[in-house]
Amino acid sequence: MNSKIILKASFFLFIVWNAVSAQNLLRDEPQNIYEFAKHLYCEGDYLRASLESLRLKEIAPPRDSYFVAGSNFPFEDSVNFILGKSYQNLSDYENSTNYFSKFLNSNSPLKEVAAKEYIKTKFLQGDELYLDKNFLTDEGYHLLPFYYAYKLLSELKSFNCVDPIEKLKKVEDPSAQLFIAENCAKLNSLEYKSPLTAGIFSAIIPGSGKIYTHNYSDGIISFILTTLFGYLAYDNFKAEHNFRGGLFAAVGSFFYAGNIYGSAISAKIFNKDMKEKFISGLFDGLRKNNYFIDEVNFCK
């Protein structure tokens, strides 16, 4: 009887152990880690995609000729590209450029796209875009038009666009040329408000500085408050109620001075909002055009 139970239990344990160990083996297979990292990347879980890709690099050392099943690119390239893109999406530009730079002097089929992604990351990083020595190779020169496009975009990002026609000739892609020209025109047509003018307006007519910066209701309220207390002060002084007159004059002056300073600040806020809207429109357009980079679709 006991031996029968032991036999049954052993059989059951054997099946369970087999199933569990099979799962573990499958989980650590490079093919499956790659598929999982790719899945996470496609789902937008860039942090876990980068962690899985790093785990994959640890488990499976680089082998140039090794193609992962289901991938059109060599294993090492695919993983480096996913890492570069994941870090780029996580705004970790240092690590992103590090992985994309691995492609620059290689024979990878992803080289051109990765080089463009490298330039894009440098652009996103906010540093002034400069010609990296890695591009000064004979085969890198065909990327120069793309680099010039990003150089102009970088200038636009810094709210600077002087003499674009000459510079645009170096950008060969007509859609990029059009996009940059349009945004340059948009930048040059921005009408900034002068804080000094706003302050002077409010000093002459209380609240008019705020109206000048399109804060209409704030301007009207400031006008009402300042003139009301000004009138009360005048009326009380006229009736020889000097204490009350002084009190109203003090409150009126407090509002008057605050409104002048507030109008100058309001002009600065107006300019800041306008710049933010411009940047937001620029990046929306870039996203719509996929940053003028051909998409490597890992997610199909």
């Binding site: 804060n215 209701s217 704030d218 309220i221 400031s222 408050l225 407090f254 509002f255 001075a257 605050g258 409104n259 300073y261 507030g262 600040i265 600065k268 806020i269 800041k272």
Partner: protein, 134 residues
């Protein structure tokens, strides 16, 4: 014996489930009053620095004459007095007074509410950082 154990297990789980349901659905006393968080501000009479001797009497006077009378009606977060305290911390006294005056005038405007973001307390988010420029 086996039947007895199974029956007791089933009946026990049924009874405990019933008890938790009964607690969940018992009658509750309702209170429709809106809780008042801080209508009265306590005066801060703790003076530690020279700056405190200048700013704290002004704040206390503002609380006594305006804030406490007005109640919990300030639409902004931080409140005007806190805005002034933050302004004195991050700028000089004169700039802080001018910023406070501007804030006080915006406080009186009922038509500008849409341009501010709302906090979770439905107050208008308007910190001093929005008005500091290099």
């Amino acid at each position: 014996m086996r039947v007895f154990i199974i029956l007791s297990l089933i009946s026990f789980s049924l009874i405990t489930a019933q008890t938790s349901e009964a607690i969940r659905w018992e009658k509750n006393e309702l209170n429709y009053e809106i809780p008042v968080h801080s209508s009265q501000k306590e005066m801060d009479l703790n003076y530690k620095s020279t700056k405190d001797f200048v700013i704290k009497p002004l704040i206390n006077l503002y609380w006594l004459l305006i804030s406490n009378v007005d109640g919990d009606n300030c639409p902004f977060e931080p409140s005007c007095s806190q805005f002034f305290i933050d302004a004195t911390d991050q700028t000089n006294f004169l700039t802080a007074v001018l910023l406070f005056s501007d804030r006080f005038q915006r406080d009186s405007n009922f038509l500008n509410r849409l341009k501010y973001k709302r906090t979770k307390n439905h107050k208008l988010l308007d910190p001093i950082q929005n008005y500091l420029f290099e």
